[in-house]
Symmetry: C2
Subunit: 254 residues, 2 copies
């Protein structure tokens, strides 16, 4: 177990500014920053994640096709309770329970809804996998690439190239992704109020999830790219306004 006075967040490194590129580990990082909980990042290359997780006593988060346990990041170690917790939504619930005086991520009356949200939202993100996996593959360190390709192609059910699709294939994926976000924008306006957040005036874990996937798009294509300029125009500029509210939480603590 690492000796630390602050929460440790296990993540894998990449060549993007700030090193962190995974939307899933960013979820936990935003949760920690939003709650104001001091923490530091320990960088682990993909092939070592299983070994490190086992060493610190983490639970597997899934089962591999061959029946062996699958370990993943984000995983945190919290020295104040000597707890190890894996998987971003479990970590969010752990942090809410352990630090009740910090801003709430998953209000109890939305707990089951948060799980349903995940199912609904992730079904809209399929085009994004095709658009960012090749870029992520290029951004992670060479020693992590074989592992990354194998696990992501197993999720995706198909191979991905070294660069994102171009031409009509890209146009179609981009259009589908935009339609997905337009659907989320509609969800936020169903009651006639034009809410910025699922949490209404306050950020909640669902909003952090949305922010992490938009952040991933911005990170992989670049904040100055034509792609990000496009996203900022989607839904009347809603997502540009939305992401501004996360600026102060998008900080990597090493």
């Amino acid at each position: 177990m690492p000796s630390s006075q602050v929460i440790i967040l296990y993540d894998f490194p990449s060549t993007v500014p700030g090193k962190a590129c995974s939307p899933n580990t960013w979820k936990t990082r935003l949760c920690l920053n939003y709650k104001g909980l001091p923490h530091k990042t320990i960088w682990v290359e993909y092939p070592d994640i299983g070994k490190v997780c086992k060493e610190i006593g983490a639970e597997p988060t899934a089962t591999c096709p061959d029946g062996s346990p699958f370990y993943s990041v984000p995983t945190i170690y919290d020295p104040s309770t000597k707890s190890v917790v894996s998987e971003s939504a479990r970590i969010a619930r752990y942090l809410d329970k352990t630090y009740p005086d910090t801003p709430v991520l998953i209000p109890p009356e939305t707990d089951a809804f948060h799980a349903a949200f995940n199912e609904g939202f992730e079904s809209l993100l399929l085009p994004m996998l095709h658009l960012v996996l090749p870029l992520t593959f290029g951004a992670i360190h060479p020693e992590s690439r074989a592992y990354f390709r194998k696990s992501r192609e197993s999720w995706l059910g198909e191979k991905f190239g070294e660069t994102p699709p171009v031409g009509q294939a890209r146009e179609e994926l981009w259009k589908k992704l935009a339609e997905g976000y337009t659907k989320v924008a509609m969800w936020l306006q169903m009651d006639g109020r034009d809410k910025l957040f699922f949490g209404g005036d306050n950020i909640c874990y669902a909003d952090i999830t949305v922010a992490c996937f938009l952040g991933c798009l911005r990170r992989m294509y670049g904040a100055d790219s034509a792609e990000w300029a496009d996203v900022k125009e989607w839904d009347g500029g809603r997502w540009a306004r939305f992401m501004e509210r996360f600026d102060k939480y998008e900080v990597v603590h090493e």
Copy 2:
């Protein structure tokens, strides 16, 4: 506009006990009964739904592939406000707003989540379409069948038979449907509490949605069927306990 002192619910008739077989119109019926709002049902055959909706000034709920407006039930006419509202989730929001002293269907802090829930939950229900559409087709009146088949095959993207699939095809669909409900059961236990309802101790609109699809399965296969006996065993008997809580609301007012 019909002269009535109570809310009118437009639905289509069938040969099942109580006549009402659509999970979508049942959503509105359960909402009205749960809120204790007096209402009566007007039965409209499928080919007449568009005409009736236009006559009472209902909004279309979708656009047909040829660009023409699509009208659907549930639609309600509320004489107390002279309002016509279509589509079950819109009706639920209308009822919450118009009758604030009745039990709340969509607590404001769950509004956007309710929309996301719908996306997530309906993605789990695909196997159910194959399992119940042929039975529904047999239960509706002959004059409604051609319209029903055309619209449902356009949703489904394929034709459906006159009887549900049998043998291995049926087993696989049934297994997938059970896995979908197991996922919902997991959503309800994410926070370590074993909640019966998305609304915690109280029924909310998401619970009504789940109940209407289970009710549809029970209605189409029969409460004494091997299929319903199976559902009652799913997830440690959770759905049997869950459905008992809806017994008193499953009443058709004509």
